[in-house]
């Protein structure tokens, strides 16, 4: 991605037009990455705003010669990871301690289609397995890029990808058995 490094220097000095240019230039990339993990426009937009606020809060840490798009992708993925973990914790707490809806257990859930089953299976994956899998399979990133974006070693990424695929296959297998 073509990028004017002078922008970082100007943004570090608090130049509002530099902030505006950075947001305009990188918002599509940030939206694309967040869209991989969240399904509603509101969620994606809220998280994208958080990403840019984090970016400008830490802009002094970036040196103009650094790989800025890579750094921004890392901030974006970390923000998604934190949010997915929070959502997962909230969901678990709700399932454990939340109010029981009367007659909930007697009504079978609607039959999910193939896409729905795959989506549910993906959502059931732990965020630390789900993120590398989505980046690899949907965003078509290389293992090296995923490692750089997530701040992991390449071996660690390969291990997580292997476990994610295995877990996904197990979940999908269970789901298929239940529908038969």
């Amino acid at each position: 991605m073509e990028f004017d490094r002078e922008l970082i220097v100007r943004a570090q000095r608090g130049d509002r037009s530099a902030h505006e240019t950075i947001v305009n230039q990188f918002a599509p990339m940030v939206f694309r990455l967040i869209s991989r993990f969240f399904r509603t426009r509101e969620d994606v937009e809220d998280l994208a705003q958080d990403v840019f606020l984090k970016l400008f809060a830490r802009i002094d840490q970036i040196r103009p010669q650094d790989n800025f798009p890579g750094w921004l992708a890392k901030v974006t993925v970390n923000t998604c990871y934190d949010e997915l973990r929070k959502t997962r914790r909230r969901k678990t707490a709700m399932e454990t301690y939340g109010p029981e809806i009367a007659g909930e257990k007697s009504v079978p859930p609607p039959e999910p289609d193939t896409f729905g089953r795959a989506r549910l299976a993906l959502q059931r994956l732990d965020p630390k397995l789900r993120i590398p899998l989505v980046l690899k399979e949907v965003d078509e990133m290389s293992v090296e890029e995923i490692a750089r974006t997530m701040g992991l070693t390449q071996t660690n990424v390969k291990v997580r990808l292997f476990r994610a695929r295995k877990k996904l296959a197990t979940i999908l297998g269970e789901s298929e058995r239940n529908t038969k």
């Binding site: 947001v23 918002a27 939206f31 869209s35 840019f52 606020l53 193939t114 896409f115 949907v138």
Partner: protein, 115 residues
């Protein structure tokens, strides 16, 4: 037809684009955040920090001064020099005499205490 492959293809196509006012919203939140950061409750701790640091340094210097500097005799240096009956401790401090041996010095001090 592989359903998983189709699902991944569909996911690849599902991308949200930023809305027309997204940049304005981000810049507004940034300005709001900066205004909050420069509020009175954020300024007070920042401005008192150097004062606290100075106070700590002064307390530290005072404690070090009390610990390191030895206590001098009650009489001043000039009085002790001019006065004829200097005790051994003062003589040791103010005159360039030979340092007596440990035991001899101790005896002198004990003798003076006895008197």
């Amino acid at each position: 037809m592989n359903p998983i492959k189709d699902f991944l293809d569909a996911e690849r196509k599902r991308v949200f684009a930023p809305g027309p006012f997204f940049t304005e919203r981000v810049l507004a939140r940034l300005a709001q955040q900066r205004a909050q950061e420069s509020g009175i409750w954020e300024v007070i701790p920042l401005s008192t920090r150097p004062v606290l640091a100075l106070v700590l340094v002064l307390i530290f210097c005072f404690v070090m001064f009390q610990v390191i500097i030895p206590q001098v005799p009650q009489r001043g240096m000039i009085e002790a020099y001019l006065d004829s009956d200097q005790n051994p401790a003062e003589s040791f401090l103010y005159n360039e005499g030979e340092v007596p041996s440990g035991q001899e010095f101790l005896d002198q001090l004990i003798a003076q205490e006895d008197q």
